[in-house]
Symmetry: C2
Subunit: 507 residues, 2 copies
């Protein structure tokens, strides 16, 4: 359907004619007409390509001072298809520069998801100088086959040459994809993590030269199966307080509990052959509806840094184009926190100081009820909101972005009997879809009244990071008219703000 139809629960404007719901949409459509062009939804501080369609992050690697973000990309139109590897680089993970396409379609098929490594020691023998270089490992996908190929680059990822011996791993399957390759130091081998998607199995292969792969283990038929497993990642993550665990990320699509796409993870150990989960639990990396295909950067010092695609396949082709479709989450550093008998992935967005704009609100607020703070917000600006607070039991702390047309986007923490965070996009009217839920909910341990909430709000997204990074809620959101006011409100009890920082971010 076209973006202007503003689908609601499987309906279109036209078919809503007789219904009161039309009264909700009419003003938003009017406002939309008054707005500047499609770039009113263009992400300001989240990476999106200049044109076309983008989905999964691929080949994330830090190399020679540059962070490389490759990604699934249709350069021809803002719809999924004709998948190439797009390319962008950054020196600080927040300011990105788009570069020419790195990998394209061939007669053998599209260039599906994969990863990149620095073949430092020229283990592949594919770098005549012996100096080594970047190697991309990806799925070449036709309608009938998915096999793994490699390509090399000696110019810092600007151009790649396909290996003449491709594919390097072909099991004769049409649902075998998304290779993530890492250097496993203890066994001094390359390890490939790749999914037999329809069989819901994560396969592990090992290689000494990136060209010859032997199966060494598998994990799966575990957690939430969905229709397909996709985009696995396996990374060693530091545990707060000491030690590490290996975390296996597996994306599923469709069939996520909120509908469509989601990322789950398993915590355990990895010996270079087998991943052993520490328990039978499955955990979701994000409680929102728009967080998929999480991948981590290779060759980064310290805690891993991850990026996910900020959309959902159920409507990624239908959301308003800006004029491109598809954006990435902010990069987040990953650690693990032990929590009673449970593990929690802790996500910390990278510092945004390089793109800091003007301060909008600042300083603590004494404990009281009602409006704790409010301010006008710059037209179309991205915002960062940082709160630390102590709530009376039963109090609800809400951060609301609104406009004169009566639209509202809110994030709240409820310190009641069932404490938790809510990201609520039900009051935004720029776009609805029958497969788009209006809000997402995360439950905190009972008795939680003192915690923190960080929001990064861009023109068409909101990311909530709460409970010291344990809660991550990522949702697309579309105002018909941009919000012009932000308010922090306490209801049902008093709330003290130990910290309040609201600033704009420069695109």
């Amino acid at each position: 359907m076209s973006d202007n139809e503003l689908p609601v629960g499987g309906l279109t404007r036209r078919s809503l004619g007789g219904l009161g719901v039309a009264a909700i949409l009419a003003p938003s459509i009017a406002s939309a007409r008054r707005m500047p062009g499609p770039d009113r939804y263009r992400p300001q501080v989240h990476y999106s390509p200049a044109k076309g369609f983008m989905n999964d992050p691929n080949g994330l690697i830090f190399h020679e001072g540059e962070y490389h973000l490759f990604y699934q990309h249709n350069p021809f139109e803002a719809k999924a298809g004709h998948v190439h590897w797009g390319h962008a680089v950054s020196s600080d993970l927040v300011r990105w520069r788009e570069l020419p396409i790195a990998l394209g379609e061939t007669a053998a098929g599209q260039a599906f998801s994969g990863s990149a490594v620095y073949d430092r020691g020229n283990t592949s023998g594919l770098f005549p100088s012996g100096a080594g270089g970047l190697v991309a490992i990806y799925t070449r996908a036709s309608d009938t086959k998915q096999a793994q190929e490699i390509a090399t680059s000696t110019d810092r990822g600007r151009t790649f040459s396909g290996y003449p011996g491709n594919p390097v791993l072909d099991v004769g399957s049409a649902s075998f994809r998304d290779p993530k390759v890492l250097w496993h130091a203890p066994t001094r081998r390359w390890v490939m993590v790749v999914v037999r998607s329809r069989e819901h199995r994560v396969m592990f292969y090992a290689s000494s030269d990136l060209k010859h792969w032997s199966e060494v283990g598998s994990f799966g038929h575990a957690g939430l199966l969905g229709i397909d497993y996709e985009c696995p990642d396996l990374v060693e993550v530091p545990v707060e307080g000491g030690g590490t665990r290996w975390v296996l990320f597996v994306s599923i699509n469709p069939g996520a509990p909120l509908g469509g796409s989601a990322v789950q993870y398993f915590v355990g150990t990895f010996d270079g052959r087998r991943f052993e989960a520490e328990d039978g639990a499955t955990r979701l990396a994000d409680f929102g509806q728009d967080f998929y295909a999480l991948q981590t950067f290779a060759d980064v010092d310290g805690p891993p840094v991850a990026i996910a695609w900020m959309s959902n396949w159920l409507y990624s082709n239908d959301v308003p184009a800006s004029p491109s479709r598809g954006a990435m989450t902010l990069p987040r550093r990953l650690t693990l926190r032990r929590h009673a008998d449970d593990w929690r992935l802790v996500q910390t967005p990278v510092p945004l100081d390089p793109i800091a704009g003007s301060s909008i609100l600042s300083g603590p607020r004494p404990k009281r009820t009602g409006t704790l703070a409010g301010a006008a917000v710059p037209y179309g600006a991205a915002l960062e909101v940082v709160l630390r607070f102590e709530a009376d039991p039963g109090a609800i702390l809400s951060v609301r972005l609104r406009n004169a047309a009566g639209e509202m986007l809110s994030a709240c923490f409820d310190a009641g009997t069932y404490p938790g965070f809510v990201v609520d996009r039900s009051g935004t009217r720029g776009f609805r879809h029958r497969y788009m839920v209006d809000r997402a909910i995360w439950s905190a341990p009972q008795g939680t009244t003192t915690t923190d909430m960080r929001l990064i709000v861009d023109r068409s997204s909101i990311e909530l990071i709460g409970m010291g990074g344990e809660a991550s809620g990522t949702m697309l959101q579309y105002f018909a008219s941009p919000p012009d006011r932000l308010e922090v409100i306490a209801e049902g009890g008093a709330v003290a703000l130990m910290q309040l920082e609201v600033r704009s971010l420069n695109g």
Copy 2:
């Protein structure tokens, strides 16, 4: 908050004053004022007590021609607390008669969830006549301790006598509850399935007399952990085409993916001591937000029959009282279906012929687009809608209940690229809550265009059963004014209805 405040995303009417959202709510409040009293939300064909609060089903058993439904019940007010065992009986699983309370509070605490068995052979020695009788096994819960007690009845569950030797199982824990006891024929012993809720473990105990229990195994730290495991059930379920598997149901609350309460299940084998899951997968029994604490009836011939609580702890105390709060799902027969590499729980609501009302729509409809059928619906009646259909790829089939005030409740099947069901309560305006999502989504295998959908719509709920019982979506819903019209509409392509049956159901 009071029911009249109609909370929306953490807001109340008052605080919405300046916002357009108020325009959504105003008419509904006006309508609500014009409506008859609270019984406008009183379930007509779903069991709810005359007054007070109800949550988990307990002690489900078929005995001497009666189906017994005991349940967690606060007889004093329509809020959770002072938990007794309420009691109702039925001869057909659809018409229930409320009986006096079966188990009450004692100095030792409240009567939390549990089960009931027929001690046919007087294995307990607690039936002097030797004729045997009913034994209830439940958790006696104080603020500091949760231990398992038993009580006996010789008058078909009308009255119970606590066993003087209670508790029969006390491990000194404050989070050890919800015993489900079954007779395990192969080992000729009673087996108790009970949870260490906060440790996320399901414990198995065995006994020859219901009075002395020994630990024989455990399962857990598996699936979705939530904050607590609750209300386990273990039952042998027939597999379509032959054979059986054991299904272990584990409810979690809060922390479900949609927010709050949910039921997951594991498929495997049980030898009387240990449950061995067939894989590491976790599966949700229902894709809606209002399905919890599923339990099956003891001593039923054929496939097991299950009932769940039709609410969610995040708002069960806040939804409109009718005047009681809490209702049960329709009883559903359970089977298992093998689906590629996956297992699907198949739920089939029991026949509703005993409460059949008048036929509203009937007969097939040829393949076309637009409104396929429409009819007025009786004021405040419960409805059953049965559809079998074939959709063109890309078509959306919607069933809509609406009223002149512009409210709408819809259920649809989308036969597009990502086929699936949606239950959408976003167009109802009788009650909103910050923790209540507006819709729930279930994804079908790609390419699905021919399937079925059955809806049971009561005054404050909707149950969707689709794909031959593989999809179950249960949601509370609150019109401000009752719906007066039903429509079946095809959009985006043509749909043929091979079967269409809409009838009212007698309360």
